[in-house]
């Protein structure tokens, strides 16, 4: 029997289930946020406490404000540039037939099968040769071309009736205007999904910044965070409340970004275009 959502009892059961599931997913996050407000002494002694000292420490001692800025710059630029490149590639693959087009698309799809660790060393050598290690450019450039985003957007654009392109051409648009005024607005849900995907992947990227960056003031949050585990090698305890404060600084922008983007992820926008 289906649960009766209209009766107050059905409602109550449903709400309890949803709440339980929500808590299950949120509890580690909530726990780490809670922990970030404890002093280390109180935490290990099992007292309750409230302090902002971990955040002060992370920002003042360990330069996390700078790491946050670096992460925002790198992930932001990667997202914008990556979406621009992927959208144009997707449009070309979806709408134009050109010699070698299928082969080129197969090559794009093939990049999806290659683990990023395999490209790590070639990328490193290339960027070293170009003198781009230890720079924002070195962090950003290798991440811009996303085969997955190009593939995903191409599939989406293929679902948009070609008649809309044709109508725009008849209205006097050129290819770029068709892309910008018709395809992009209609693809907004897919573009925002891919933007979110690119942003989060880059935000969580750890290995590449670790190998590409030596200068401390170019560290991203993930690299800075990992470093907290190996400070004070003489001491045998890790300052968990400090790590949790730094983690919270790392998580919050992503959550905020998701909240901002989420309402653009609605679907069904081509409704009513063609018979």
């Amino acid at each position: 029997m289906k649960p009766d959502l209209t009766s107050s009892r059905g409602m109550w059961v449903m709400n309890a289930l949803v709440l339980a599931a929500g808590l299950m997913f949120l509890s580690p996050v909530l726990y780490s946020i809670w922990m970030s407000f404890q002093t280390a002494d109180a935490y290990y002694a099992g007292h309750l406490d409230f302090t902002l000292s971990n955040y002060e420490l992370a920002v003042a001692e360990y330069n996390f404000a700078r790491y946050l800025l670096n992460s925002l710059i790198v992930s932001g630029v990667v997202t914008l540039a990556g979406i621009a490149v992927a959208t144009m590639a997707a449009y070309a693959f979806a709408r134009y037939r050109f010699p070698g087009g299928n082969l080129a698309f197969a090559a794009v799809v093939a990049t999806l099968m290659i683990p990023s660790h395999i490209t790590l060393i070639p990328n490193y050598l290339t960027l070293a040769k170009a003198g781009l290690l230890d720079s924002y450019a070195g962090l950003i450039l290798p991440a811009i071309s996303s085969g997955f985003a190009a593939f995903f957007l191409r599939q989406y654009i293929r679902g948009i009736p070609r008649a809309l392109d044709e109508a725009a051409y008849m209205d006097g648009a050129n290819a770029f205007q068709v892309l910008w005024r018709v395809i992009v607005p209609i693809s907004k849900p897919a573009i925002f999904s891919m933007g979110l995907h690119l942003f989060i992947s880059e935000w969580n990227n750890y290995i590449w910044p670790l190998v590409a960056i030596g200068k401390e003031d170019l560290y991203t949050l993930q690299v800075g965070l990992a470093r907290l585990y190996r400070i004070n090698p003489g001491e045998d305890v890790i300052d968990w409340p400090l790590v949790m404060a730094a983690s919270t600084i790392t998580i919050l922008p992503v959550l905020l970004g998701f909240v901002l983007v989420e309402r653009h992820l609605v679907r069904g926008i081509t409704m009513g275009a063609v018979k």
Partner: protein, 340 residues
């Protein structure tokens, strides 16, 4: 306004059979041409070729006296109404209508004023702020029409632009299109399945079948002198009756032909008349308004006649006589179907 000249146009789609087999069509500047033909005969394909959305496999397309085969659609100054509307789903009705003007950098105030004017004409004013998804089929179709009409193009291609409208709206829009044509003097190529539309709008009608142009002439000429049996049977409602000449009692003309008799060339008698007539049995009557359509069974096959409503009609099953007007008969070659 531009003339459109098609010479020996052939078109095959990628990996498909040929769908246009050498079409010649010469449309004068400012002319209103209606294309009719059965579904799948290549009408939309022909429009798309003129628009530049498809390229011809061979043949020449001249627009305004210059070869346009390799001209991009946006450079042809042609407005098109698509059979499937192709409205921009992310834009409001107003934006849909004004988009072409916006691309041509018409100032905002001017283009919005124009969009409103067009919307008024198409009775779309209440829906200006809606998106296509929230419109009925007929409303969408009118937006598609408005989008084409907002610009003063030299040429309009309209692919069944009135097919989804109710009768009153269709008649009103027909008048608007005629008026638009008169005001702008634009060249219009109009596809329709509706005979009344074709006969009432066209300067000339092009009848197509299976990728071939059958006849291209004025409505009067097509109706009075159809070039072949297909055209004769395709235009005119109810459709023309065809009977073998030698089987027709009292026929004095050539015998080795097929005769075409329009329903109005048959006169109903309830008793055998003096003049030669076909003996038949009334099978079914159909009211169309001012007239009745009579479906009759005869030794020559099924025949259709019309009778005014006033006449006392026989009832189904009754024997009747259909007197034919020999002067109004069309003669067609029995094998080729060509007008004899």
């Amino acid at each position: 306004m531009s003339s459109i000249e098609l010479t020996q146009i052939r078109k095959s789609y990628a990996n498909g059979p040929e769908v246009l087999h050498g079409v010649d069509l010469s449309i004068a500047a400012g002319e209103f041409v209606v294309i009719v033909g059965p579904s799948g005969c290549g009408k939309s394909t022909l429009l798309r070729l003129i628009a530049g959305l498809e390229s011809a496999s061979s043949g020449d397309i001249m627009i305004g006296g210059t070869r346009a085969n390799d001209l991009a659609p946006q450079d042809r100054d042609i407005a098109m109404i698509f059979q499937n509307y192709a409205l921009y789903p992310h834009m409001t009705v107003e934006q849909n209508i004004a988009f072409g003007l916006e691309l041509r950098r018409v100032p905002k105030r001017e283009r919005l004023a124009r969009a409103r004017e067009v919307a008024e004409m198409l009775q779309l004013t209440p829906y200006l702020d809606r998106k296509p998804g929230a419109l009925s089929g007929g409303q969408r179709q009118r937006v598609a029409m408005g989008r084409a009409m907002a610009r003063n193009s030299s040429t309009f291609l309209m692919d069944e632009p009135l097919s989804n409208l109710d009768n009153a709206l269709r008649v009103a829009m027909r008048t608007e299109i005629k008026e638009l044509h008169r005001q702008l003097g634009a060249t219009i190529v109009f596809v329709t399945h509706d005979q009344t539309e074709a006969l009432s709008l066209a300067d000339r009608i092009a009848v197509m079948k299976d990728g071939h142009l059958q006849q291209f002439d004025t409505p009067g000429a097509i109706y009075d002198r159809p070039a072949n049996r297909f055209v004769a049977g395709f235009l005119g409602a109810p459709t023309m009756n065809f009977v073998p000449a030698e089987a027709l009692e009292g026929w004095t003309g050539p015998r080795e032909v097929e005769l075409g008799l329009r329903p109005e060339a048959l006169r109903l008698h309830r008793a055998r008349p003096q003049a030669p007539a076909i003996e038949a049995r009334l099978a079914l009557t159909e009211m169309t308004g001012s007239e009745f359509v009579l479906h009759c069974e005869s030794p020559l096959g099924r025949l259709t006649a019309v009778a005014p409503r006033a006449e006392g009609l026989p009832s189904p099953g009754e024997a009747i006589w259909l007197e034919y007007d020999a002067g109004a008969a069309h003669l067609f070659d029995r094998d080729s179907g060509a007008r004899a």
